[in-house]
């Protein structure tokens, strides 16, 4: 049953850009995939490990700059760059985690906000590395042939498939985490950190590992962001607003679920981008609205709610 669902979903992902070739919808789907990765990244830390971060744009930005700088100054191709972006973001996450995880709950959240702001200011002022507020721009991507024919980077479709691969990896990582020892550790930590500690779990190590994994995915999404938009500047990729968007997609979709970030991204990004085509300003208005609705009426998120409804309809006992 689950396998059939998975196969159908994969088939939909593969044929989608050919069924709706309109550039707006392809762009929309790419954005949904990118935000799925970012939501999934946040969900690993904020959902499974229960550590609310308001600073995840730090990892997105670090990834975006890594890919961009490696390509511009060393000529390293973006597909290696995206993986390296994830690694750099994860490396940055380790010291941040060691510092910020001394704090708990809302204090941790505030400290991540401060760290992200400091990193944004560094990126803004370290002009020899980041080119400061002017930002970095690439005009062409290196030629690649796939199955014998060159890839046309002016089309959005190659980006769609690259985004799809990263999103599938992100969801697969989440699924693997949910069945792993680390997953069990961080769930225990999010339930009750003192008891987890008493049971002999190294809570600092477990939380830092979850943060590094989360940062890896956010960094890879940042690398993808840089290559897709081909332009980045500190205020675009390090903003508080981006961190907050990730939180909202994960929470509205459904925390601590594998599919939640995908559902959240489909729902919120479609609303936001459609709103943007009609109004110049304020496309995040529904993010805020649905965040409030979700916290008040369905803290388990859209996907969590759907699952509960289906389970009660089928008479399955929810364990």
């Amino acid at each position: 049953m689950k396998l059939i669902g998975l196969a159908v979903a994969l088939a939909v992902v593969v044929v989608a850009p050919w069924v709706v070739p309109d550039p707006f919808y392809v762009h929309l789907m790419i954005m949904v995939l990118m935000w799925t990765v970012l939501g999934a990244a946040w969900n690993i830390l904020g959902g499974f490990a229960g550590q609310v971060s308001f600073g995840h744009s730090a990892f997105l930005g670090a990834g975006a700059y890594t890919t961009m700088i490696l390509y511009l100054s060393l000529g390293i191709a973006p597909w290696y760059g995206i993986v390296l972006a994830g690694i750099v973001a994860a490396l940055i996450a380790v010291p941040i985690g060691l510092i910020c995880f001394r704090l708990r709950g809302p204090y941790f959240a505030l400290s991540t906000l401060a760290v992200a702001e400091i990193i944004r200011l560094v990126a803004l002022n370290w002009e020899s590395l980041t080119n400061g507020p002017v930002g970095l721009l690439i005009t062409t991507l290196p030629p690649v042939t796939f199955a014998g024919s060159p890839i046309n980077w002016e089309s959005k479709i190659p980006f769609y498939y690259i985004g799809a691969v990263i999103a599938i990896v992100a969801l697969a990582v989440t699924w693997a985490l949910s069945r792993s020892r680390l997953g069990a550790y961080v769930l225990a930590i999010s339930e009750d950190i003192d008891s987890a500690e008493a049971l002999g779990i190294n809570t600092v190590q477990a939380r830092v590992s979850a943060l590094a994994l989360s940062a890896f995915l956010a960094g890879a999404a940042g690398g993808f962001y840089a290559m897709y938009f081909r332009y980045i500047d500190p205020d675009a990729v390090f903003s508080i607003a981006l961190s907050v968007e990730m939180v909202f997609i994960a929470v509205v979709g459904g925390l601590t679920t594998v599919v939640g970030p995908l559902v959240g991204a489909i729902f919120l990004v479609s609303l936001g981008e459609t709103f943007r085509t009609h109004f110049m300003w304020g496309h995040l208005i529904f993010y805020g609205l649905f965040m409030m609705v979700a916290i008040r009426y369905m803290p388990e998120g859209i996907w969590g709610k759907l699952r509960l409804m289906v389970e009660s309809r089928l008479g399955v006992k929810n364990g």
């Binding site: 204090y107 909202f248 300003w281 609205l289 409030m292």
Partner: protein
């Protein structure tokens, strides 16, 4: 020497406004344990209130504080009664996420209505700064400073000498015991949230003539608020006042003696250090 005095003066002027915003945030945290992510957006609404009072009704922006402080109080009461009341029992992280939602909603509604364009208020009497003893004091900031001290002192008096003030302090210290003593914690919470919002709106009105106005200005302000209240210890009113002045001084001295581009980072670095090494705040009376 003159630069030093100059930067201390401008630091204190800005710091007084920071203190006013911080006090609003800290009393709300003290009573309800809400870290209000939307506090900066209330400041933004106050700024736009002053702007429109000036542009549409030809009212002096500083005078419009008599309109927007009561309006902020009323708005705060309504927000608490209809939005936050049901969320508070869910714990600090829930209210944090909920007010983050409220913040994004308010900021984007403002973007939709007023667009993201930068606006300024031009006052005829504010073209030239005052120059007592050779130190430049911008007139709008000087007026804002005096009014901020007045408002903060009035709030202090309210907390120290009135029944509702005593009830607020009691609830802040021990909600259960306060409830046992016959204080309606619900009512106190609502009034406290109203006061916090009123202070934010008032500070927004006072800041409007000195800053650029744009709908997402709250994002930066709220980050600064957290620095202020954590510096002084979350929940402590004198702490928030001290925190506001310290941040103002740190920014203006930092801009002169450290570096202009990193002036905004100084606050965040102090913030992290205080969180890590003195989580109860510099004055040590906050709750960690």
């Amino acid at each position: 020497m003159e630069t030093l005095v100059q930067s201390i003066v401008s630091g204190l002027l800005t710091g007084s406004l920071y203190a006013m915003i911080g006090v609003g945030l800290t009393i709300v945290f003290g009573v309800m344990r809400i870290i209000n992510m939307a506090h900066g957006d209330m400041v933004m609404l106050g700024m736009y209130g002053a702007f429109w009072a000036h542009t549409a009704w030809k009212m002096d922006p500083f005078l419009s504080i008599i309109l927007w402080v009561p309006a902020g109080f009323l708005g705060g009461l309504l927000i608490f009664r209809f939005l936050l009341k049901k969320i508070v029992p869910g714990g600090e992280l829930n209210t944090l996420l909920y007010t983050a939602g409220l913040s994004l909603f308010v900021a984007n509604l403002a973007l939709l209505i007023w667009t993201g364009d930068y606006r300024t208020i031009k006052l005829p009497y504010a073209m030239m700064p005052l120059r007592p003893l050779g130190i430049a004091v911008p007139i709008p900031l000087a007026i804002a400073f005096c009014l901020a001290i007045l408002v903060t002192a009035a709030l202090y008096w309210l907390l120290a000498h009135t029944d509702i003030g005593r009830a607020i302090r009691a609830t802040s210290q021990e909600p259960e015991v306060a409830a046992l003593m016959g204080i309606s914690v619900d009512r106190v919470s609502m009034i406290t949230f109203g006061l916090g919002t009123a202070l934010a709106c008032g500070a927004g009105v006072l800041l409007a003539p000195s800053l650029y106005l744009y709908p997402t200005v709250g994002e930066i302000l709220v980050a600064k608020c957290f620095v202020i209240v954590v510096l002084g210890g979350l929940g402590s009113v004198p702490g928030a006042i001290a925190g506001g002045l310290i941040l103002g001084l740190a920014e203006s001295l930092g801009a002169v003696y450290v570096s202009v581009p990193y002036k905004d980072a100084i606050g965040f670095v102090i913030f992290l250090l205080v969180l890590l090494f003195r989580p109860a705040g510099l004055l040590g009376e906050g709750k960690s």
